[in-house]
Structure formats: C-alpha cells, structure tokens
C-alpha cells in the first residue's frame, strides 16, 4: 500500500513538472552574456563598452607599441641590438604603416546604431556617448586617410544576407578629399554635443573635436596645395590626391576651427607656463596631469598600480641612472634634430665644434656648447651632463691625447691610466659612447620628452603613467599659423607662432615677413618632435622623398642648410664629446666635440613615391575587386 502511494506521488510530480512548455524550459536567460537591452539601458555598462572603443584608437607613436614607434626617420638612433635594422635598411616597405581595421569601424557603427535604438538611457548620456563614438570613428578615418588615402567610407554596420553574393558589401574607395570632408563635418556636428571643459582630457571634448578638425583640414589643405608638385602621387579617381583648387577652402576651415579653440569657446586652453626654467617647463607639459595643465587637450592616460602603465621610461632612461639593470637608453635623439633647434636670436647654426681654421673648440662644461639655444632643446633631449632624477648623465667617448690619438675603451665606464700616469681613471662615460654598445647613448643624447622623473618609474615592476599627448594647444596654434600663412595672412601667422616661440625662450618676435614655408616646417619639427607628426608632416608637404632621398649624409650635408625644409635627413648622426688630456696645454681637462656617425648606421633612408600611401594588401584587393591600387605600387 505504502509502495503504491509513493509510486503515485512520483508519477503525479513528474506529470505536473512536465506541464511547463518545452520552449520556456529551454529559454534560460544567459548569466555570462549581457544583451544589448541590458547594456544600452545602463550608463555604466554603455560607458564600459565605450572604454573598449577608446582603447582601440590607433596612434603612430604611442606607448603601447613601445619605444620603437618613436624611433626612425633619422630623428633618433635606436640603441638596441635587435633594432639596428631601423638604421641599416635603405627605405621602407610599401606596406609599412598600413591599417585597415574595419572591424573597429563596424564596432563603432554598431555602438552608434544600438545607442540610437535604446530607450533606457538619459538623453544627456545618450547624446554624449553617440558624440564620443562619432569622434572616435572620425579620428580613425583620419588615421586611415593619413596612411592609405581615400578608403571605403562605411557609416552603417553592414549585414550579410547569406545569399552567397557579397557584391553589395564591396564598397569602392572614396576620394581622399571625401574622407577629410567626413572628418571635418563630423567634428562640426558633434562639437556642440561634447563637454566644453578643458579638464576633460582622456575623453572626447569640444576642444578635442575642434583640434582634430583643425589638424585634418590643414592636412587636406597641404595635400591639395603641395600635391601639385608630385603629380605621380595621385590616382585618376582622386582616391589619392586632392585637387589644388580645394586648398584654400580647407585652410579657411582649419583657421576657423583653430580660432574657435584659441578664442576660448571650447574651454580655457592656454600654453603651459608654470615652471621658471623654460626647459623644465617644456618637459612638464607631458608630465603634469593636474588641472594646472591647460595645454593638453586630448590624452591617452595611464595610472600606476592599476595595470595600465607603460615602459617608455624603463626602456629609455639613462643607463647610469637606471632603476633596472640593463634596461635603459634605447632612444637616442640624433644630432640632425639637436642642431635644428635655433639660437635665441632666431638664427640657425650648427653646434660649434671647430673654429674657422679647423681647430677644435674647447668647453669647460659639456653643456656650454648648447648654451643660448631654444629652451625646447633641453626640454626634449637629455644632453650630456644634464640632470635627471637628481643625477647627471655621464656621456663621453674617450680622451683626446696631446698627439691627437684617442684613449678609449670598448666597455662603458672602464678605467685606464692616462699616458705618463699609473692611476687608472675612467676613460669612457658610464652612459657610453662606445660604437655598437647597446642601451647606452650612441649619439651623445638621450630622450627627455615623456621621461618620467617619478621615483621608481624606471622599474619594470612599477613602470610609468606619463600620458600620451594626442592633441595639445601649441599644435593648435601652429595649425592656425600654417593655415593663416597659406591664406596670405602672414601677420596673423606670426602672432600665433610667436606665442609658441616665446614660451620656448625665443623672445625676439618674428615679423610677418620672416614667416616662410621653411619656418613653418621647422617650427613643427622642433615643437612636436617625437609626437608622431614627422612622417605625416613630411608626407602632406610632399617633402618626404626629398629629405629622405636615399643618399648617405656627409658632415658637410649635416652642418649646412640647417632650417631648410628640404635638407637631407637620411642618417642619424651623433655628437661625441671627448675630454682633452694634455697637461702642457691650457685646455687640459676641457671638452671638445666631434660629429660622428654611429657605427651601426649603414643604411640611408629612401622614401619612394610608392611609400606616400601605404599598400592595400593583396588579401583586401582580392576580397573586394572594387578597391583600386595605390599609385606607384
């Protein structure tokens, strides 16, 4: 009896449980996947999706790709055994620098589409998120057009219909000018929807949108104007190349956008003028993350102890001051760059190493040879005997003896007795210079820009949180100056340029008549060194095939025509300090300098017409026959 009861009960229970519909039984909400409805109704979740999109931005020189993305173009020498190829090759592959991440574009388009469709967010959040995604999309198209020229302009997520036919998804390349127009019009459209706040630096702000617009318009204007000098670098459908007639329109837009920032309508941006020492002040632009810094507009931020840190300081700190044994000294600015910093009277001159009759000039202190120059020099470059973290760099290549021979060593910091003495003394600096000795300076210089003076910043365990500056006010001023100059408003150009220059200690203002194309080129090179501009600037002015012409540089090439936009710049030279030892001479113990080409430099940069626009690789053209090839490839 009891048994029958149990069986019946079991049967009843089973039957009752089965009453649930099969479909609802199988339809279990996932606990690991967030659906669109959930994500786009919570501002915190939507922001975290946006954070991923921010993180996928592409910059030419950046900390995530490492110090090597700052090297090259003869502006610096790579002091690392595995990286000498940079100065041993004779040019670049056509595919170098290409990007084609339509996966990122699709994610941005989907983000915008889903936000537009969502109802759960406050209107203000929704507007701002959409504006930020449009900013990122425009910024990525800008990055693509700089490298590839016109690319397919996709602003909606494309969907495949499983019909086996993909021709409706194969989009041809837009004109180069169309992409620039898109960047400019997007910036115009979103600037009113982004916060007007100079302290909003790592998310898009109105200032960032306008700075992007000004830069894009100045790029487009110069490609239109100077592209006329290289008719080979263009395609019949204008996928590459912009008609010269459009130049003035772009320059006008650039000037308007830059002036919107300059007149304060996008937030209170200003040049950074805080520290009394102008070189320290210049270096601090890249270090100061407080609200005192009104110069940086849009940055990629880092934070110590959060996991989001970078190794720039670990890789590039001076060897003798390194926090980490044998991890230092990789990026050595070249003499080519160092000598291009002007003297304080606005003139260009090589660093004086020899007098008129060819005899060496002696200096009491290594720093004396650099005296009276643009303060940005010592702010960008760590000179021999310069201070970092309270210590001085120790850079010299050896002793020059009375008989004109050199006493040196193959090991940095090694000791040898001088002639006529028995006590060994140090004959090479602890930071080099020894030809081919990696991780020490081989040009006589170390990098200072972005180098973090914080305690422990050079340790692999801690690393550094110095931000990467993507847009800053000084560049906006230079864009305004360039646009004004090209529009024939030289006095206005001089006003903007003099602001940047006086901050660097060049207090004698340039007159309107002094502003030339060469001046514009030079000012950007020294102000924005190592900020990822040099390649794109040389490309848009169509100077790249002239300055990187593949011919090796002689000393005469090196020290002549400084300040000329077309000066050859194919090999990174160094300035090697020597100590003079001749007890009979009044110059005993003083310093002299020699221009020296570091031993590993065997190649000479050659930029070909086919390098102006990076190759669209075969897998892309094979998948989409509508893509036309780049010129000269």
């Amino acid at each position: 009896m009891n048994k029958i009861f149990k069986i019946t009960m079991a049967a009843v229970l089973l039957t009752a449980a089965s009453c649930k519909k099969d479909s609802s039984f199988l339809d279990v909400p996932p606990t690991q996947v967030l659906t669109n409805d959930v994500v786009f109704s919570d501002p915190a979740l939507a922001l975290s999706v946006l954070a991923n999109l921010y993180d996928r931005q592409v910059d030419f020189s950046n900390f995530d790709d490492g110090w090597r993305s700052f090297a090259d173009f003869s502006e610096s020498f790579p002091s690392e055994n595995g990286s000498y190829y940079i100065v041993q090759r004779n040019g670049w592959d056509y595919a170098e620098w290409n990007i084609w991440d339509y996966g990122y574009i699709r994610d941005l388009n989907l983000f915008i589409q889903r936000l537009n469709a969502s109802n759960g967010l406050a209107a203000s959040d929704k507007t701002r998120f959409i504006a930020e995604a449009r900013f990122l999309r425009a910024n990525y198209y800008f990055e693509m057009v700089k490298r590839m020229g016109g690319v397919p302009l996709i602003t909606e997520p494309l969907e495949y219909d499983y019909s086996g036919n993909v021709t409706n998804l194969q989009k041809p390349r837009a004109k180069e000018s169309d992409i620039y127009d898109f960047v400019i019009s997007e910036a115009e459209a979103i600037k009113g929807q982004l916060p007007v706040n100079a302290n909003e630096k790592s998310r898009a702000s109105a200032g960032a949108a306008l700075a992007m617009e000004a830069r894009a318009a100045v790029y487009a204007g110069s490609i239109a104007k100077y592209g006329a000098t290289t008719p080979q670098v263009s395609l019949p459908g204008n996928e590459v190349g912009i008609p010269a007639s459009m130049a003035n329109g772009y320059y006008t837009k650039a000037l308007t956008a830059a002036q919107a920032i300059i007149n304060g309508s996008a937030g209170s941006y200003a040049l950074y003028k805080v520290l009394p020492d102008l070189s320290d002040n210049f270096a601090a632009i890249f270090l100061d993350k407080s609200s005192v810094n009104q110069e940086t507009i849009f940055i990629e931020d880092y934070k110590v102890n959060s996991g989001r840190v970078h190794s720039f300081t670990v890789n590039d700190q001076p060897f003798s001051i390194s926090d980490e044994g044998y991890d230092a000294g990789r990026l050595n600015p070249s003499l080519n760059l160092v000598e291009s910093f002007e003297k304080l009277d606005n003139t260009f001159a090589p660093l004086p190493t020899k007098d008129a009759s060819g005899n060496p000039i002696f200096y009491n202190n290594q720093l004396d040879i650099f005296a009276g120059r643009d303060a940005r020099l010592a702010g960008t470059v760590l000179l021999p005997n310069a201070l970092f973290k309270g210590k001085r760099t120790d850079i010299f290549a050896g002793y020059l003896l009375a008989d004109n021979s050199i006493l040196s060593s193959n090991e940095a910091g090694s000791l040898k007795p001088l002639p006529g003495t028995t006590t060994p003394v140090q004959v090479v600096g602890k930071d080099g210079i020894v030809n081919g000795l990696e991780l020490r300076s081989q040009t006589g210089f170390y990098i200072r820009k972005y180098l973090d003076p914080q305690e422990g910043s050079g340790r692999r365990g801690r690393r550094s949180d110095v931000p990467l500056v993507r847009y800053r006010y000084a560049e906006v001023l230079l864009n305004a100056a360039e646009a004004a100059f090209e529009l024939g408003q030289a006095p206005l150009a001089a006003t903007y340029m003099n602001q940047v220059r006086s901050r660097a200690g060049l207090t004698t203002p340039l007159a309107a008549g002094d502003i030339t194309f060469d001046r514009i080129v030079h000012e950007r090179r020294v102000e924005l060194a190592f900020e990822g501009h040099i390649l794109f600037d040389m490309k848009r002015w169509r100077l790249a095939h002239i300055v990187w012409d593949g011919n090796p540089m002689s000393v005469t090439d090196l020290v002549s025509n400084i300040g000329s936009a077309k000066k050859r710049n194919t090999q990174p030279w160094g300035l090697w300090p020597y100590k003079y030892y001749n007890p009979a001479s009044p110059n005993n113990g003083k310093w002299l300098f020699r221009e020296t080409l570091p031993g590993p430099v065997t190649g000479a940069n050659r930029f070909q017409f086919g390098n102006y626009y990076s190759m669209i690789t075969g897998d892309i053209t094979a998948a989409n026959p509508k893509i036309v090839k780049q010129p000269n490839q």
């Binding site: 080979q232 017409f609 897998d619 094979a622 998948a623 090839k629 000269n632």
Partner: protein, 232 residues
C-alpha cells in the same frame, strides 16, 4: 615485452601510411628574360623595379611579385599554365603600354616548361657606347645619350651620375663615390664625359665597378648603363 610489440606495430603503421604523397609538386618551370629596348639591355637599380605575374582561375586573384636585378634580368619558378605579366604603375625608367580603358596593359604568357621571354619596353633615354677607364686615381667615362621618347610623353633629364662601388652592386644607394652632372648643364647629347675620384678603399683592392645612371625628371627609377669592372 608486449608493450614494445604494440609500439613496434604502431610505428610501422605510421611509417607505412606516410608513404603516400601528401603534397603538390613544387613549381618546376623557369620563366626568365630581361628588359630590352630593340634588343639592347636596360639596366636598372637592383631590387627597385618590381614586376607582377597573375594567374587566374584559382579563386582569389593576387600577384606573384618579384623585382628585376640590376642588369634588368628577371626569373620566376612557376607551374605550367597561363599567366599575365605586368609592371606596376609608376615603376621603371621606361614607358609601359596603357590600355585604352585605363590601367596597365598585360602580356599573356603560356608557361609550358622552361622558357625565356624578353620584356620589350620604351625607355625615355638610353646610354649609348659608354667607355670607362681608370687613370690618375680617377674613373673617366665618355658616353652618348639617346632621347628615345620625343612625343608628348617626353621627359627631361634631372641629372646624370657616374657611380663607382667596391662590389658589383652599383647605384645611388650602393656606391663609394659618385660624380654628378645636372641635366640643365647638358648642351649636347654626344661625347659627354664625367670623372670621379676613387677614394681609399679598405681593405685595398685594385679594381672598382662603375656605371652611369640617368635620373629622368619626374621618374623615380634611374636607367643605367651595364656595369663594368675597372682595374687600376
């Protein structure tokens, strides 16, 4: 013991089944030739003038690319089949046929066993009867220039260089010394002469390689005379 036996069986089976061919034959037909103008060879810079071969009919189409050597020779190891040969736009110191509809023309090639095919092109200029000899620590060269393209496509001469190098690779990128003559200073195309001082070579050698190159205005690649080895 038994374990060893199984292991033996296992390896035998694997070895036996591996005997089957698992791959295609490697391409075995050589296509080679050189750049010529009416039978005269054209010299270019090593590794700077590319060519492309296309074979359609196998799904996606992409080029088989390589470049000419400095004497204008090329070669490619291919499967037998039908190919199209072309030189990409803007490459080489010569003109390449354009199709009326736009785009570069291609040469159809049927590869069936080894074969030699010279590529006939129209250079803007040719260096004629180059004579080079060393005397007094210099390499002296005399030569004539023939202007080949004289119609609307004609281009001027930007400069003429005499390069010398200690190895057989001689060009703007590979040289130990060079002399330069601006195109504007050329008044006659005949009996041109140039000379370049031979620098000290370490380790010493008593010969250099020399050749003359013309840089044509608006064209990236230079056209060269044949390389000569010069004793001194």
């Amino acid at each position: 013991m038994k374990k060893l036996f199984y292991l033996l069986i296992f390896t035998t089976v694997i070895a036996a089944s591996s005997c089957k061919k698992d791959n295609y034959k490697a391409p075995g037909s050589t296509l080679k030739g050189r750049l010529v103008y009416k039978g005269d060879p054209i010299g270019v810079e090593y590794n700077q003038v590319p060519f492309e071969l296309y074979q359609s009919g196998f799904g996606k189409v992409g080029p088989i690319g390589a470049s000419f050597d400095q004497d204008g020779n090329y070669s490619a190891l291919l499967f037998d089949g039908n190919y199209r040969f072309t030189i990409p736009a803007g490459q080489g110191p010569f003109m390449w046929k354009e199709r009326a509809t736009g785009g570069r023309d291609t040469i159809a090639i049927t590869v069936n066993g080894d074969q030699t095919m010279n590529i006939e092109v129209t250079p803007y200029y040719m260096i004629r009867s180059p004579q080079m000899a060393a005397s007094g620590g210099k390499v002296n060269a005399t030569f004539n220039i023939e202007k080949v393209v004289t119609d609307a496509n004609a281009k001027g001469i930007e400069r003429v260089n005499l390069y010398i190098n200690k190895t057989q690779f001689v060009s703007g990128a590979d040289n130990i010394a060079s002399a330069e003559m601006a195109g504007s200073s050329i008044t006659s195309m005949n009996n041109l002469s140039m000379s370049v001082t031979i620098p000290t070579i370490s380790p010493t050698q008593n010969y250099v390689f020399a050749r003359i190159g013309i840089k044509i205005a608006g064209v990236e690649d230079m056209i060269f005379s044949p390389v000569q080895k010069i004793q001194f």
